[in-house]
Symmetry: C2
DNA sequence: GGCTTAACGGGACTACTTTCCCGTTAAGCT
DNA sequence: AGCTTAACGGGAAAGTAGTCCCGTTAAGCC
């Protein structure tokens, strides 16, 4: 490989995004990238159209076959504009993820932790089996494996999603359903993990059964304290803590 | 997008691989692809060198920046050879996965299911945190999201890995550690899932604690029957099952 | 050892992706 | 409304990935 600057890995195209700081990683950006000085009207419309088109293209073609000129065509926008504002495929996807992180669906509240976890599992399952969202998520995760900036955006996205459901676990602790000291984030992640593992690695149906199992397994593990912070040993051999 | 035949999606370069049928999906291949008539000597050396080079390149550059000409250079092989035998990046990766599926590490036998699951979690963790293997797995999963043939090869790979550890769960059932009817595959997958979720989506340390938790959570969930085939309801879907 | 031809290798050629140039449009401000 | 210039858009130019042609090497077989 002999690729060199890779455009905005060094800085050129700028952080993109419309807000004051979409948080693409380079917090110390002071120069003026396209879209930062006059973010209203046309610029905002262009961003919206391009991000939508990028999502469509990703869902249809997958990450590998994504062509920015094609995205530009779908968005009815000049391809030069796309290259100038986002620079590369990864720059565009990072921005798309920032956008997605802001539009998180509200959690449900069923009254029991198990019910909430099942609702969460069902939501994740619906998302991943959706004809548009499923391929889109696959593509975004694939993109994140190739680019640190995209990976960071993806982590932030999931952090936001997890945070939304954390209160369910906190309530579960307060109600005494799971022990004091349970790490709420870990429980929420434990619900999603098996579904993503199926989607990306092992394959398999991703049906309701599978979602329920994920929720129940996380719930039961949490009940016996598997996600408590600090030491937890079910007859473990030695008390070796991490790293 | 206006990409057309995409080479071997229709057939041209052939199934590749060295064995009689590496099983790349097209089982009805009768023509002679390169590498099938004289698979000995040079051909085998070329395949080995190219697959190794492909793994190196993937681990270093990631899936998106993989260039077959670069792989050829690393392998000290003409790029024409690579294009002729494997056709595309995905064809090459599918072959790489077939190769990897055959070299599965033997499971350990600690005498208890929890011990075995912990050993499995530790193995997966070591693999995913390895400087070469980690990026390689990421890249392969990314590739699988873009191409059905690669995805199929990946599923076979994980099926083989899971199968290796299934006997641990069977023994656990026989010893009465987990209930009759427990789906062994599901338990083994449940151990890996949280680790892969961290690697690909949520991010996070992937330390020993995390691996132990994954094993313990799967174990506890299995104990209460969360992975039994057929119906499993902890108080059904109605809220408030009492505690 | 000699023969046949599968498989390899170099390099020109084609197709596609990305960048650059420069004229046009419209956002933000008074 | 009018002015300034940020941001857009089309098309040419440059760069890169993938294909094809044809001569060379060596695997398989006697």
């Amino acid at each position: 490989m002999a690729r060199e600057p890779e455009a905005n890995e060094t800085a050129p195209p700028g952080p993109t995004g419309s807000g004051p700081d979409p948080g693409t990683g380079s917090g110390s950006w002071t120069g003026t990238g396209p879209g930062t000085v006059r973010p209203g009207g046309r610029t905002a419309r262009v961003r919206e159209a391009v991000l939508r088109a990028a999502g469509d293209a990703l869902a249809e073609c997958g990450f590998a076959h994504l062509d920015l000129a094609d995205v530009a065509r779908r968005a009815d926008v000049g391809k030069t504009t796309v290259y100038r504002r986002w620079g590369t495929v990864n720059g565009l996807l990072a921005d798309l993820l920032s956008e997605m992180a802001e539009s998180s669906l509200p959690r449900t509240d069923t009254g029991t932790l198990l019910g909430d976890l099942k609702a969460n599992a069902a939501l994740v399952r619906r998302t991943l089996t959706d004809p548009r969202q499923g391929p889109l998520f696959k593509a975004l995760i694939a993109a994140a494996t190739c680019d640190e900036r995209t990976a960071e955006a993806l982590r932030r996205f999931y952090a936001a999603r997890v945070e939304e459901w954390v209160p369910c676990v906190r309530q579960g602790v307060a109600r005494g359903e799971v022990p004091e000291g349970t790490d709420p984030h870990e429980v929420v992640r434990a619900v999603s993990a098996p579904l993503y593992y199926r989607l990306l690695a092992s394959g398999g149906p991703l049906d309701e059964t599978c979602a329920e199992r994920a929720a129940e397994a996380a719930y039961e593990a949490a009940r016996v304290g598997a996600y408590r912070t600090g030491a937890y040993r079910i007859g473990g051999e030695q008390p070796n803590e991490g790293e």
